[in-house]
């Protein structure tokens, strides 16, 4: 059972109080984009085994959307954070790297 802390109301919310919103940090390609870009935005999902960023909605609580970083293989939750960001905040990345040495966010070269 997954328990996530809602950053909007501070409740430790049980999975059954939440609704899934699937992959987070998608960049929208709308009018004016190429068919390939739109197809990738619409259908292509990372679906990794390991560290994953997701959108969740606290449906039965405060009703707000938030984002969570968790591992899809072990269900370990690294942290949750407000949805008003376009990429994972530095403190969440640090928490993930503390647990998964060598892990890097997409598009960042390993140090």
């Amino acid at each position: 059972m997954l328990t996530l802390e809602c950053p909007c109301c501070g409740v430790m919310a049980d999975e059954t109080e939440l609704s899934p919103g699937y992959e987070a940090h998608l960049k929208r390609f709308g009018p004016g984009s190429s068919p390939e870009e739109f197809e990738a935005y619409m259908f292509a999902r990372k679906n990794p085994k390991g560290v994953h960023f997701e959108r969740w909605r606290h449906t039965y609580g405060c009703g707000k959307w938030f984002l969570a970083a968790r591992c899809t293989a072990t269900l370990e939750v690294f942290g949750t954070y407000p949805a008003q960001v376009s990429e994972p905040p530095a403190d969440i990345i640090a928490k993930i790297q503390a647990r998964r040495p060598g892990w890097q966010p997409d598009g960042k070269a390993p140090k």
Binding site: G10, V11, Y60, G61, C62, K64
Partner: protein
């Protein structure tokens, strides 16, 4: 003028805890965030301060609860709702807000007795050992949304009126004598 009637007409049940449907109760949903005059508007209607995150401020028959970062629930006697909406409109004139009378859209239950928490423990994914006095917790009761808080040796539960009979059924079943935890 028709008389206001609560969803279940004051149904009650005596198990290992007492379940009572109360109301009709006046309720106003106030959606507002970061407004200058918000404290003034809430003070004018309920006489309480603006509740902090997940808190409910209770003063006699009036109360104000924190529902989400931009939503408050005002509780007051049913007959005062019309005047209260006027007071809010006046206090928040020119500021972006929404205040709606939801008294008839809700049902309210009281769960009372020494083991009242056990009735709710079986129905809600809430850690009751960590629920503080004066905390308003929104969650679900079995399959429907519900909000609860501790008040006077018991709990008050608010749900939608359309599911009042379902919630009464849940509470009744959960409070069956012999089913104590």
């Amino acid at each position: 003028m028709s008389e206001p009637v609560s969803a279940l007409n004051g149904a009650s049940f005596q198990g290992f805890a007492t379940i009572r449907e109360i109301g009709p109760l006046g309720m106003i949903t106030l959606r507002a965030k970061g407004l200058k005059s918000l404290d003034k508007a809430i003070k004018a209607v309920t006489g309480t301060k603006v509740p902090a995150q997940r808190r409910i401020e209770i003063k006699g028959e009036h109360a104000c609860g924190w529902m989400s970062p931009d939503e408050y629930l005002l509780l007051l006697p049913y007959a005062e709702v019309g005047a209260a909406l006027t007071k809010i409109a006046k206090a928040l004139a020119g500021e972006h807000h929404l205040a709606v009378d939801v008294s008839d859209a809700r049902a309210v239950f009281r769960i009372e007795g020494d083991r009242a928490d056990q009735v709710l423990r079986k129905l809600m994914p809430v850690d009751f050992d960590r629920l503080e006095p004066g905390e308003l917790r929104r969650s679900r009761a079995a399959q429907v949304a519900a909000a609860i808080w501790k008040q006077d040796q018991g709990f008050t539960l608010v749900c939608f009126r359309s599911v009042a009979a379902y919630v009464m059924g849940l509470l009744t079943h959960s409070a069956q004598p012999g089913s104590e935890l």
